[in-house]
Amino acid sequence: MRIIACFKAVPEEQDIVVEKDRQLNFDKAEWKIGTYDLNAIEAGKQLVEAEGGQLTGLAVGGTALDSSKLKKNILSRGLDDLYLVIDEKAENADTYQTAKLLEASIRKIGEFDLVLCGAGSSDLYAQQTGNQVGELLGVPVINSVNKITPQGDKVIVERVLEDSVQVLEVSLPAVLSVTSEINVPRIPGMKDILAAKKKPVTEFTVEDIGAAYVQPTSLVLSTQAPEQAERKLNILEGDSEETIDEFVKLFNEALK
């Protein structure tokens, strides 16, 4: 199986600082691989381990992708090779711009059986890039995929809906977005980290993949931490009878 797993470089959300004016400060936040993208890579790895084939990593983005630490990290997760489209023009791309760039990259890479995406990027979480790429490529596209079982030139997928599970037969090639519950991404071992050094990395610009410029869909007006609701902060401490009685009294009033 020829599998392409897509991922995105995102800022480490734990290190984003909310300033007093509710603006976000990214100075301390390092770029990392999107949390949910790791599920897509792991799903690809498991399929290649079981069926044989090749697992390719693919990302489009700005200069954040041009980090040796990030490249090593992604390659140590079992990729056979890695394609990166690094271009200022790909920075802050919206879902359609990203999907157009991924479409062009995938056509440039060539034949594939499966393109895998995560549930959503861990920074913007639009959950749309996979859906949009699939439609642009004109192949079957399924989101919310919780299980993938190869069957000849098809895959059987389980798709989680709100109150049911759909079992679908999907012919290849196809684009699937997996859930964050489909697997637990493994942590790379020393052997994987060493092997990562030998894996080929191909870097393209937007011109290299022949993608036309697409106008942005929207203009970001502001990105600000939400205003916190005023809370009463009536905090009691201890486990004495009186404290618990007092707490239960307040609690009971709130329940009314």
């Binding site: 976000l24 879902t95 859906n131 079992v167 203009l219 009691l236 401490e237």
Partner: protein, 311 residues
């Protein structure tokens, strides 16, 4: 200025009232796209739609296959705004339609209004850390929206509208539905619960959750959890997980037990009228966001609290 043509699309009938109200608020002429029976079309019209496209849905049909046809109708009728209910199917339809219309799908919008003749959408980014305001620039704006964004209007059964039934089959080259089975475990709708008890990592073992269940049943609350409990430990189903990629709630009372109060979780309950917290760590961020708090070991205090509440 209102938008001339606003469309809404939903595969979940419970969303008709709210989406129709939202579309009515923003647009002059409202079109609904539904996948079901005649009486739902009547309901959409009573809720505010002027016309309904009713697509055929049978057991085993894959309604996402209508995406291209819907996009064609949207283009032909020059809709300015398309709101898609953010179910799993709705999200896929939104993305496919957006690609057909050469635009993005703005996702999980929490507020929507018109400013200087443009649609402005607000949605959470960075795991709930921030709210982003975006001014949409495309001719047809496509976005996904969940429940709780708009308030349904009272139904007006005398309203009239045009219903067009689309009887053609969905275009589903390469996709075949083999089976639909009910989801394992119970289904729960946290969004309608007035009282919610949430559990977090403060619970050391799965069987200890019984203490939280007891409190929930004593107070008539629904049980919920933080992400590690649903996805890490798998002690509860994902439908009970509250947070940025889970349920976002507006209960009257939210009781956080053994939950530290990380922003990714709190974004799911920030709109609760009252937040009650129990945690043994007095420096836990939850105590900066609670109305009523008790610093104490839940293993000691929780059974006592439940006992006293029952008394």
């Amino acid at each position: 200025m209102a938008i001339k043509n606003v469309w809404f699309i939903t595969d979940d009938l419970s969303a008709i009232g709210e989406l129709a109200a939202g579309a009515r608020k923003l647009g002059e002429h409202v079109t609904a796209v539904l996948f079901s029976e005649q009486d739902q079309a009547k309901e959409a019209i009573a809720c505010g739609a002027d016309q309904v496209y009713l697509f055929k849905k049978t057991e085993g049909s894959f309604i996402e296959g209508y995406s291209k046809e819907i996009a064609g109708l949207i283009r032909a009728e020059q809709a300015g705004l398309v709101m898609v209910y953010s179910s799993a199917s709705g999200r896929l339809i939104a993305g496919r339609i957006a690609s057909q219309l050469e635009t993005s799908a703005i996702s999980n919008v929490s507020d929507l209004y018109i400013e200087d003749d443009h649609v402005v959408a607000e949605h959470m980014v960075y795991g709930g850390l921030a709210l982003r305001k975006e001014k949409a620039l495309s001719d047809t704006v496509v976005l996904t929206v969940g429940l709780g964004v708009f308030e349904a209007n009272a139904k007006d059964e005398s309203r009239e509208g045009k219903v067009t039934e689309i009887t053609g089959e969905a275009e589903n080259a390469g996709i075949k539905v083999i089976e639909i089975r009910p989801k394992q475990g119970e289904t729960v709708n946290l969004k309608v619960a007035k009282k919610v008890v949430g559990v977090g990592r403060g619970f050391a073992n799965e069987e200890d959750l019984k203490m939280a269940e007891d409190l929930a049943s004593a107070t008539g609350a629904e049980l919920a959890c933080s992400r590690p409990i649903a996805e890490g430990e798998k002690w509860m189903g994902k439908e009970r997980y509250v947070g940025v990629s889970g349920a976002v709630l507006k209960p009257d009372v939210y009781v956080a037990i053994g939950i530290s109060g990380q922003i990714q979780h709190m974004v799911g309950v920030n709109d609760a009228k009252t937040i009650v917290a129990i945690n043994k760590d007095k420096n836990a961020p939850i105590f900066k966001q609670a109305d009523i708090g008790l610093v104490g070991d839940l293993y000691t205090v929780l059974p006592k609290i439940t006992e006293k509440l029952k008394a």
